[in-house]
């Protein structure tokens, strides 16, 4: 789930840095700006399909239609009030896919211990 910073904020910050004549063209900050634009690029390419798949999964879990933001908030509230449980394999698998799809946009090289697929 992508909340903030949004694509436009990342691009805006990178542009502001590029336009700032006093910004030292120094390794670290240049890498940070390139990283921000890389996130935007991956989001443009990968998020539409991830979002559509998430909407389908959440619709099935919650038994209702809606857009991504509506269903995502509804799922969070259902997890909070206990009407839906992450112990339910379908729910956990949705959370896994959602988190991995988002990580693939934000930090594709991040190493972690979460299984890539549901365990049998």
């Amino acid at each position: 789930m992508i909340d903030g910073p949004r694509k436009d904020e990342l691009v805006e910050a990178a542009i502001a840095w590029l336009e700032d004549a006093s910004a030292p063209v120094e390794g670290f900050h240049r890498k940070v700006a390139a990283n921000a634009l890389g996130i935007v690029r991956r989001e443009l390419m990968q998020w539409p399909a991830a979002e559509a798949a998430a909407v389908a999964r959440m619709g099935a879990i919650l038994g209702r239609d809606g857009d991504y933001a509506t269903l995502n908030v509804a799922l969070a509230e259902a997890l909070r009030d206990g009407t839906v449980s992450a112990e339910d394999p379908a729910v956990f698998d949705h959370l896994r896919r959602m988190a991995l799809d988002t990580l693939a946009i934000d930090q594709p090289r991040y190493r972690h211990e979460l299984s890539l697929e549901a365990r049998p």
């Binding site: 908030v73 997890l79 972690h112």
Partner: protein, 355 residues
């Protein structure tokens, strides 16, 4: 100065404040010059003064005192005037931090030795001076660089020992510190999450997971609060040289420190070495127990690891907020908001492992 949460959360967000002196280096230099004889026997001159942290209202300065044929390498920590907006500010006043350093040293934990707990007449405001410890603090280098291979062989045991000594300190000899048991810590970060973000399914699922695993309350001990790879000064040969960054210290469950050290974000890609990217959990707990620490269950450590991961998630939200509200418009501050997804993946990994 505004706090993101009204209940005394340790990460304080400060807006710009005006520096009392337009030339902070000159201001600090003049006062250290006056203190030189106190800071080193025969101390006459201050040389090589340089600021190590930029922007923070909590300043760290490195400097040398030269005197009668000797040079003493020192660090000054002081609460200065503003700079750009910062997320992390200590809730502990520096004199309390100084007292904790002294107590830790007395207990045999490796810390930078306290040289002066500055008095009002020193003119430096809230400040203290410690010996400068040589070594590396960059977590990635410590976890990955071949130069630290030897240090990595001992670092896990040394961390266990250091934590056992810190946790063994009699709380009654310490200055007053806030007590935060598991319930209090969980409620605190749940509250900040709800104020900083819309509802998020993984965060809600993680809260439920932690709720049912809330460990029984135990008598509170001194907890360092930020004991992780990145806050450890490490020598390439001898390993742990000093435990740094005491500003989040409090009284609580000792397993909080052990769990925080295992958070995946501090393993710097060496995910299979659970402890800071340099050791396994058995090594850490064996050394902790051998040094007199009461060995916690794996479940208790995992609970605190989850709390730590949740806490880091909340911090990324707060850092993004300083960008979104315009307090800091740097790309770095914006991008850190996208580290939330790493925390959610790590929380799910902990949940998955317990199924």
């Amino acid at each position: 100065m505004t706090k993101i949460d009204k209940i005394g959360h340790p990460f304080r967000m400060s807006a710009s404040r005006s520096e009392p002196a337009s030339d902070p280096a000159g201001f600090v230099l003049a006062r250290l010059e006056a203190l030189a004889p106190v800071l080193a026997p025969g101390g006459a001159r201050v040389t090589s003064l340089r600021r190590l942290t930029g922007g923070a209202s909590l300043e760290t300065w490195a400097f040398d005192i030269e005197g009668s044929g000797c040079v003493r390498q020192l660090i000054l920590r002081r609460r200065g005037g503003g700079g750009e907006a910062e997320v992390f500010e200590t809730s502990l006043p520096l004199p309390i931090e100084a007292a904790l350093l002294q107590a830790a040293e007395n207990a045999g934990a490796p810390v930078a030795r306290l040289v002066r707990d500055c008095a009002a007449e020193d003119g430096l405001g809230e400040a203290y001076v410690v010996e400068r410890v040589a070594g590396e603090t960059l977590g990635r280098r410590i976890a990955v660089a071949p130069a630290f291979a030897r240090a990595r062989e001992t670092l896990g045991r040394q961390c266990g020992q250091a934590l056992a000594r810190i946790h063994a300190i009699d709380p009654s000899v310490l200055p007053p510190l806030e007590a935060q048991d598991a319930r209090a810590v969980l409620d605190r970060y749940a509250d900040i999450y709800r104020k900083s973000s819309g509802p998020r399914p993984v965060m809600e699922a993680a809260l439920k997971w932690m709720e049912v695993r809330l460990p029984a309350s135990i008598p509170p001990r001194l907890v360092h609060g930020d004991f992780r790879n990145g806050n450890l000064m490490v020598d390439p040969v001898t390993g742990l040289a000093a435990v740094l960054d005491w500003e989040l210290a409090h009284l609580g469950d000792p397993a909080e420190d052990l769990g925080w050290l295992c958070v995946n974000s501090w393993r710097f890609g060496v995910t299979d070495r659970v402890v800071g990217g340099f050791a396994d959990l058995e090594t850490l707990l064996d050394a902790y127990e051998a040094a007199g620490g009461e060995r916690p269950s794996i479940e208790r450590v995992r609970f605190w690891q989850a709390v730590g991961t949740f806490k880091w998630a909340v911090v990324t939200m707060m850092m993004y907020r300083t960008f979104a509200t315009g307090a800091s418009r740097s790309v770095e501050r914006a991008v850190i908001g996208r580290r939330l997804s790493e925390c959610e993946v790590d929380l799910l990994a902990l949940m998955e492992a317990s199924r």
